[in-house]
Amino acid sequence: MDIQYMIEIFPRFLLVIPITILIVVLSAIFGLMLSIPVAAIRIRKIPVLSQMMGAYISFTRSTPILLQLFLFFFGLPVLLQLIGFDIMKIDAITAAVACLIVFNGAYMSEVLRPAYLAIEKGQHEAAESLGYTPFQKMKTVIIPQMAPIALPGLGNAIIHLIHDSSLVFAIGVVDIMGMATIMSGDTFGMKQVEVFLTVALIYWGISMISEQLIRLLERRKKKVLKNTGYKLKEEEAGYSV
């Protein structure tokens, strides 16, 4: 094992870590935004739309992410052409982010839905009876109570997302993993163990840092949970995916 070599190649990875982080952050934020209407449609059981969302969630859950990435990379241009945009090929990062947003929109909606349903009807009615608008009710009463319940599930989603993002090299994105495949080619396969071990260490580091950030939020969550007096088991609190 050539530890010297691992130290040498590390700076080259530093250049592409931002790509991975960009993909993860965009997918997490927009995925969460997408998951809200998806969860709302399912909670309200809006006819037709609710069944469509059910199929969408089931599809994203039951097909490999790698396959979904290919579908987006090759399928999106076709779709865009159908609706009149003349694009032959889309940027691999765009396809990757779009795919992971869609994936997380489904995944996170299944975290939000049980969290919403865990809030007692009386909490809604108390706010409604005082004349809160739906938005005021969500903001000051419901979401603060949902947040601690949904947090473990959302944290999980982000850790998954970090790992799933390592597949985007397959459609040509030069992220951490993409860089690794380039390097292992450069050395004609001589230093593969060193390269992939370095990559593993980098992912470990990113995941550890993310977990610490999530844990900071969880500490707040514990306080809120204690205040509300909800005695929730973690399992029923959003690990439903």
Binding site: E120, G122, Q123, E125, A126, A127, E128, S129, L130, G131, Y132, T133, Q136, T140, V141, P144, Q145, V224, N227, T228, G229, Y230
Partner: protein, 247 residues
């Protein structure tokens, strides 16, 4: 001041409220009694639109709202003139006692924090719980929670407070403190519509008692008439059953 005309409500095929008419004057205490499943809760919930009636009209605080064609804005407007005290208290679990009482004043009435705090502390003092201002609901007894929810209702200065069996979720030894608080609220001139199974309390506190049966007003009158001299067969039957069950 509050006037309900021809209120109808059904759930699916079953008619739960059938042509209810009710007039309540300012400062009056009206109590609804009647068998289980008669529609007492449903009527209170219709008044502040937690349940949407099929038809009828309500006049409150000078404005008339047509249930059949009520808009979202009118719904909020009507709700802001009423307050509800629930059987299960329904305090906001994520907020302290003080925040529970303050919140609607800030969020809905757009009062300043300082003004809302002063008002809330005054209302908490009124129900005897200013010392619990910083506690969370689950740290209080049921009776204390219900008194906080009464303070929360008072704090928005509604035209009318609707009480739905405010003591029936409580342990027997906690009923008294809540009834005492309600009595004080009634004494202060607040208009009250109360649903209860506490018959002797109802007799003491009410200006008028309404006996409801199967979705209709079967009999109404002063408490002495309903409780002592009713000549309505269903009322007598209900009260007889009630007293034999509870004594």
């Amino acid at each position: 001041m509050l006037n309900i005309e021809h209120l109808d409500l059904s759930f699916g095929d079953s008619k739960v409220l059938d042509d209810i008419n009710l007039e309540v004057h300012k400062g009056e205490v009206i109590t609804f009694i009647g068998p289980s499943g008669t529609g007492k809760t449903s009527l209170l919930r219709c008044i502040n639109l937690l349940e949407k009636p099929d038809g009828g009209r309500i006049t409150l605080g000078g404005d008339t709202y047509d249930y059949g064609s009520i808009t979202k804005k009118e719904t909020l407007d009507l709700r802001r003139k009423t307050a509800m005290v629930f059987q299960q208290y329904n305090l906001f679990k994520n907020k302290t006692v003080l925040e529970n009482v303050m919140d609607a004043q800030i969020v809905v009435q757009k009062k300043s924090k300082a003004a809302a705090r002063d008002k809330s502390m005054a209302e908490l003092a009124r129900v005897g719980l200013e010392a619990k201002a910083d506690a969370y609901p689950h740290q209080l007894s049921g009776g204390q929670q219900q008194r906080v929810s009464i303070a929360r209702a008072l704090a928005v200065e509604p035209e009318v407070i609707l009480f739905d069996e405010p003591t029936s979720a409580l342990d027997p030894e906690l009923v008294g403190e809540v009834l005492k608080t309600i009595g004080e609220v009634a004494g202060s001139g607040m208009t009250i519509i109360l649903v209860t199974h506490e018959m002797s309390f109802a007799e003491d506190i009410s200006d008028r008692v309404v006996f409801m049966d199967r979705g209709k007003v079967a009999e109404e009158g002063p408490p002495q008439q309903i409780f002592r001299h009713s000549n309505h067969a269903r009322t007598q039957q209900f009260l007889r059953k009630f007293y034999t069950a509870s004594h």
